[in-house]
Every structure is written in structure tokens, then in C-alpha cells.
Symmetry: C2
Subunit: 352 residues, 2 copies
């Protein structure tokens, strides 16, 4: 606290990201990164852009990236907004599209940055409980609201929603914006991008951090009706003209265009996930059905915090979240085949 701080600052409860340990030799299954590096075509594009032209500002509108994303989804460039990771995109969404008189709605168990954004922009919110099986029931969201946001698949559960459920919500909720946060959609979920021409209040958010192996490059985007995108552009252009640097733009374009590499790596992760789920089930874990690049699991007899510590002693990091309703769960990122085998091996030892 300081007399120089704006009044809002001391009330903020900042987001705490998963640990980024500075030592190597760890099996890092705590922040849902892709175990495979970016496509060779992405590294080549980055090398090509590493030149004297870095002295020049980037295109403030990132037009080539918007075009690549629009081509990928067969939509128009004015239906695309890009930002410095989907976190920055989400921040602008909360300020530009979710601040209204009525509270917005999101799940009680979800991405824990949502209430942080609400604090930053003083957006009222109400949480809607997941079902007893930790699923989102979109019928519970049909009520007066200033906006609705949920991840699909949800984090940290990994549970996905069918497109029919999202369509049903959109048919019943036409007066406020519905944001589907698809950070993990490419690992088996059904994307709502196909619905944006039908519903002018639908905004879909994706990231290159997970399925495109580019968490280190910070690129995310939103797609939706041009009027929603215009609101985001107005806020972005009142905040920072150039959130995407020249390298991020070049790498992201190459990543979007390299569909072959994208399919190979995500399919490997899906296969590893399904194998790991079977192995963990055999070890006595309850494994929630996952459409993401992580599993959300709990053991019937072992405390989650203690299991997490035991894994850490063997140089394996997973994520344990403190929220009361899920504090007996562990969120485990899908690593390589070898990493997941090592995880199972260590768990076998720990569980005796």
C-alpha cells in the first residue's frame, strides 16, 4: 500500500501462474505446455525474421497473421482479433464486452484468471457451480446476465461440451456476449468457430500456446462478429498499438499454416493422454474425461498435496490447486510418452 497508488491497486488479487522452475532435468507437467517443440517451419520463419528489420515497428494490425487465421477458419479478417497471448485477449474482452450492469456468469471451477480480470475492470460476476460430476451444465446459464464466459474444454477439469449444448445456450441467450475460451479445443473438442456467422454475440478465443507449441511466443486470438472485434480493436488501440512483435507475428503465421505438423503432434498427445488415463485408472485414480492436453485426477486413498510433494521429490512437477472443491485433485499435463511412463512408474512406487 502506498499513497501514490490508484485506489484500485490495493484491492487487486493478481493471478498466480504455474511455476516456471529455473532448474532443468525436471519432468514439467504443471502448466499444460506442449511436450513437442514448435514446427520446424516455425523455427525457420523466426530465423528468417531475425534481421536488421527488427529496428522497425511491426504492423500494428498484424494483418498477415489475421489473414492466416481467417484462411484457416474460412472467415473474414475483420472477424479476427489478435493479442499477446490469449490472456491479453481475454483482458480486453472483459473490458470491452463483459462490463455491463448485470453480473457476468462463469463456472465456480474454471480458469482462475476470470475473477482477476473482474477485479481489474470492476466487472460484477456470479459463479455457476459445476455439476456433481464436475461438468458445465449450460442450462444453468439461462438467466439474466451481463455476459457468459467458460472454457471448452473447461480448465482445470478437461471436460468438454458438445456443440449442440453451446448452440442451445446461444439460442436462449441473445442479449449478452457469450465467450467460449477454446485454449484446449484442438485436443479433441468441438470448436464453436463454426457458429460465429450464425450468432453475432458469440466470441471464440484460442491460443497458440498449447496445440501450436508456442507458449514462449505469446500469441492468442479471438474470432467473432466484426462488431465484437471492433470493440476489441478500439480497446487495444487505446492500450498498446503493437502488442505483437515482428517475431511473434512471423512465427504465428508459420504455425497456423503448418497443418501437417499440428495434426501429428496433437494426435500424439491425444494418444498419450488416453494411455495415461488407463494407467492412472489402474492405479486407483479417478480420471475425469478429458478433451484437453491434461488430466484431472484424484486418488481414493491418497491426499493430493502429499502426492504432489512425493512426485516433486522425484523431479516431476504437477499442478495442485487450492480451491476447496477440487483440492483432492491433481492436474497433470500430458508429456511425451517417456515422461508419462516415468510418471506412472514413480506413482507405482509412491502408492506402494
Amino acid at each position: 500500500m502506498s499513497r501514490y497508488w490508484s485506489s484500485i491497486v490495493s484491492k487487486l488479487e493478481p493471478y498466480v501462474p504455474g511455476e516456471q522452475p529455473k532448474v532443468s532435468n525436471l519432468i514439467k507437467l504443471n502448466t499444460n505446455e506442449n511436450p513437442y517443440g514448435p514446427a520446424p517451419s516455425v523455427l525457420a520463419a523466426l530465423l528468417e525474421e531475425t534481421t536488421d528489420t527488427l529496428r522497425l515497428y511491426p504492423d500494428p494490425n498484424s494483418d498477415v497473421l489475421k489473414c492466416a487465421i481467417a484462411d484457416n477458419f474460412k472467415i473474414k479478417t475483420e472477424q479476427v482479433f489478435v493479442g499477446n497471448g490469449s490472456d491479453e485477449v481475454l483482458a480486453h474482452v472483459f473490458q470491452a464486452l463483459l462490463k455491463h450492469e448485470l453480473p457476468i456468469l462463469f463456472p465456480d471451477i474454471t480458469y482462475s484468471f476470470y475473477p482477476v480480470y473482474c477485479g481489474l475492470y470492476q466487472v460484477e460476476y456470479a459463479t455457476v457451480p459445476l455439476t456433481d460430476s464436475y461438468a458445465i451444465n449450460l442450462q444453468d446459464y439461462v438467466q439474466a446476465n451481463g455476459g457468459i464466459i467458460f472454457p471448452n474444454p473447461n480448465a482445470p477439469t478437461g471436460c468438454g461440451l458438445p456443440l449442440t449444448a453451446i448452440t442451445g445456450l446461444l439460442q436462449n441467450n441473445t442479449e449478452s456476449v457469450v465467450v467460449v475460451d477454446e485454449a484446449y479445443i484442438d485436443f479433441g473438442g468441438e470448436s464453436a468457430v463454426s457458429l460465429i456467422n450464425q450468432f453475432p454475440n458469440l466470441l471464440v478465443i484460442q491460443t497458440l500456446s498449447k496445440s501450436r507449441s508456442l507458449a514462449g511466443l505469446r500469441v492468442g486470438f479471438a474470432v467473432g462478429d466484426a462488431k465484437l472485434i471492433e470493440a476489441l480493436e478500439r480497446v487495444k488501440n487505446s492500450f498498446n498499438s503493437y502488442p505483437l512483435d515482428r517475431l511473434a507475428i512471423a512465427g504465428a503465421v508459420a504455425a497456423i499454416q503448418d497443418k501437417a505438423y499440428f495434426d501429428v503432434t496433437r494426435n500424439k498427445i491425444i494418444a498419450t493422454r488416453d494411455k495415461l488415463a488407463k494407467n492412472l485408472t489402474a492405479l486407483g485414480f479417478e480420471v475425469l474425461p478429458s478433451q484437453a492436453n491434461f488430466l484431472f485426477v484424484r486418488h481414493s486413498e491418497r491426499d493430493a498435496a502429499k502426492l504432489s510433494q512425493a512426485l516433486r521429490q522425484e523431479s516431476i512437477i504437477v499442478r495442485h490447486l487450492a480451491h476447496q472443491r477440487i483440492n483432492q485433485f491433481l492436474r497433470i499435463t500430458i508429456g511425451t510418452e517417456n515422461e508419462c511412463e516415468r510418471l506412472v512408474e514413480v506413482l507405482e512406487q509412491v502408492l506402494g
Copy 2:
């Protein structure tokens, strides 16, 4: 306008950055970029970082970069904040440190993003006119205020303030934050960084876009008392955990550490500026005294907008700003020796 927009959105008047033309073969003297590329050591650091590790999130705190900046200024890392260009840093400053009951103060002629941030965060402001010779007189700022911000040297005039004037203001203004925006300080100004241990309400902002030739990489920073930095961190961590990507961090560290290249290039620019100022004066231009990498000039007999158009026909772009008080001025970025010679040649023709 759309019913889905938050109420603030339609009232915003977004910042319009200088044009980034998509054709080459232009002499681009319109956005104050450095005519020399980044240091070879920077390009080497970027190449080294272009690896599979881009799959991993960056360090959310950019600790190595904070250390490099702290070492450079002989200050503590907790006195350093980093962001995605100084524009992002400034945005956080307006929200975290400049939003109070009293209006903030800045010059009537200055960086035109300041009133845009005020619109975004609903910060009240009053402008203080430059003197008749287009200088900032800091004695005019000794009045009740919610904060003070000015660039030194000022943009778009290029005129600098001596450190004694800034010290005088800080002695007389202890109840609100004073932000010195030093985007152009390395081209001959006196930095206020040396005062941060003395004045807990002083925040100094710098960028790597100009003197470090990295406009394309988007890195800026703020230095000041740890309590001011804490406010910025709280806002940043409620907005986006990882605004600096892995490549930006690596390139910025190398740029800060390469003092030899930094000195060579900025000295070349200073020499070119002084020569260009003489040549333009000889052509009948009034040239404001510049401590920046640009000149702010007007011709006694020729309309600025028409001069700008005439230069453009010869593939030279300069910046003409519409603000009434300065609409007879042109802002001309210092290019290479050859570029500036070509500019003078074309102006000789145009002026007959």
C-alpha cells in the same frame, strides 16, 4: 456501436500510430525508428533462443532482463518493471499510479497517447501549455494535481529539460507521482534515473525501440521506488502474466548489455542530427533545439502539409501532425547520413 459493447468502448478515441507502409524503397523518417539495425550481439542472442524451448512459457517476471537493467543503472531489481513496449508500461502507469481524484497534468503538445490512456481508464486531466518557444516550463506544473507526466525530451518537439528543472519540480511536488517518459533520452538528454533513490514519487520510463534499435521487438521498462513498481506489478499480474516472450527477453538482455554498439549508433545519430539541423536552417527552416532522434521544423514560407506531400512524391515519409498549434511543423526522424542527404537534396528542389 453495438449493444454488446461495454459502455466505455464507443467513447474511446484510439491512438493512431505513424504509418507503417507495406512497400519498400521508401526513406522512412516518420516514426522515429533507429536507422541502424540492432547490435549483432542481439541478433546472435535471438538466434540462440530460437529453439524447441519456445514450447515453454517465458519467465513471467522476466528476471534476467530486470537484472540486466538494474545492473546497467546500478539500481535494485525491485526498482525495475518491464513491459511489452513502453506503451504497455505507460498504460499500466495510468491505471496503477495516475488515477486519483485530482486531474493529472501533461503538456498541451506532447505524446498524443496520454489523453487516450486517460479515456481508457477514465483519468481526469488538464493540459499545461508549452511556452511560446515550445518548451516545457516545469514551474507551471506546481499546482494541485493527481499526477504529472511529460516526456524528456518532449515529443514531438525534441526539446529537453535539464535535470535541475526536474529536481526542482520533485522538490515542490511530493504528493503525487511524477512520470518522466524518457523514450528519447539517449540522444543527448539528462536522465532522471539518477534521482529515483531520492524521490519515492519519481517514475522514469524508457524503451528499447529507439536507441536500442528494437522497435520490432516491443520492450520497454520503468524504474522507480519499489513501491511504485509493486503497483505496476499488481496491475500487470491482473492483466497478462507473460507480456514479454522468450525472444523479446533474450534480445533485450543482449541489447542492454552491448554498451559499445549502443554508444556507436547513438553518437552517429547525434552527429547526423546536428548536421541535418544546420542544413535545414540554411534552407529557411526554423529548427527547434533537439535532444532526440528527430527534428521538429517549420518553414517560414511553405505549408507543412504540402511540403509533406511533396516529400512523399519523392518517396520520403515524414510526420505531419494535425494539432492546431503545431500544424505548420514537420517531425523528421534522423535517418542514415545518406537518407538525410537525400532529404536535403529533395527539399532544395521542392523549395526551388
